[in-house]
């Protein structure tokens, strides 16, 4: 049962990603990406990581992607940008990236996909995660907080002029 669900969720994730990366409209692409993330959240849950699944939905899809959405709305990419994007989505630009990606995928699959070792279905509970996080990995937590601080300051500084001065931005 969980296996079938797994394949379904995986298909959704992959399919949504494919769609996301091939849209001309940025907003549409973002929505598809959110769907993909939700699919991956289901995958997490199936793998016995409910805490990770929750975080995926709340933080990743709920905060980071929403940030994306805000910025895109702010940029006001209109009809013209869509036309530009469509012009760029040319098949002949696919060839080299596609080839390289296919080769990479082939290699990865070859390396990993040989044997079959099942994952036990017991979940790893949030309490255990918390204990590990603030136990051996507490230094990482501190570093991550500093990183977030840096990102905060950087984002504030970079976005300041845009908000304060340029009210007259056009497409």
């Amino acid at each position: 049962m969980s296996l079938a669900l797994f394949y379904l969720a995986a298909a959704v994730a992959v399919g949504a990603t494919v769609l996301a990366l091939t849209r001309a409209n940025a907003a549409h692409a973002l929505i598809y990406l959110i769907v993909s993330l939700l699919g991956v959240a289901v995958l997490f849950f199936l793998l016995g990581a409910p805490f990770a699944a929750a975080l995926e939905v709340v933080a990743y899809a709920g905060a980071i992607m929403v940030l994306f959405v805000f910025v895109i709305m702010m940029l006001n990419l209109g009809e013209e940008s869509q036309r530009e994007e469509r012009a760029l989505l040319n098949f002949r630009h696919w060839r080299l990236p596609g080839l390289l990606t296919a080769l990479l995928l082939a290699e990865l699959v070859y390396v990993m996909g040989n044997s079959v070792s099942p994952i036990p279905s017991d979940a790893v509970l949030p309490k255990q995660v918390a204990l590990t996080l603030f136990g051996p990995y507490v230094l990482g937590v501190e570093l991550a907080s500093m990183l977030l601080l840096a990102g905060l300051v950087g984002a504030y500084h970079l976005g300041q002029h845009f908000l304060a001065r340029d009210r007259g931005y056009n497409n």
Binding site: L21, A29, L75, G98, T101, L158
Partner: protein, 104 residues
């Protein structure tokens, strides 16, 4: 709960596919927004691989790594989008091929 357990390799293959797709998007798209989205996809794929490994070994380390990846992604996205705003302001376009002042 179920006798049909999920094979680790299959999960890793899914993660690889997602990663490859992200890479493809990074190479293929010229709009900076889409390149950032591709980066997110790649990070997500890596997170999936970690979780799978953590579940396989029944340890919390996988999820811990996922939390860190989340923090990284958050910081990176916020700064990246700030850069997007600056780029839009200074070059009036989001095409990466115009931001080539570091060439040569």
């Amino acid at each position: 709960m179920d006798t049909m357990l999920i094979p680790l390799e299959h999960v890793l293959v899914v993660a690889s596919i997602l990663f490859a797709l992200g890479l493809f998007g990074l190479m293929f798209r010229r709009n900076i927004i889409f390149m950032l989205m591709s980066l997110e996809v790649m990070l997500n794929a890596a997170a999936l691989a970690f979780i799978a490994a953590g579940a396989h070994w029944q340890q919390a380390d996988g999820q811990v790594m996922f939390v860190f990846i989340l923090a990284i992604a958050a910081a990176e996205v916020s700064v990246g989008l700030g850069l997007v705003l600056q780029m839009r302001r200074q070059m009036q376009t989001l095409d990466m091929n115009t931001a080539i002042r570091l060439k040569g």
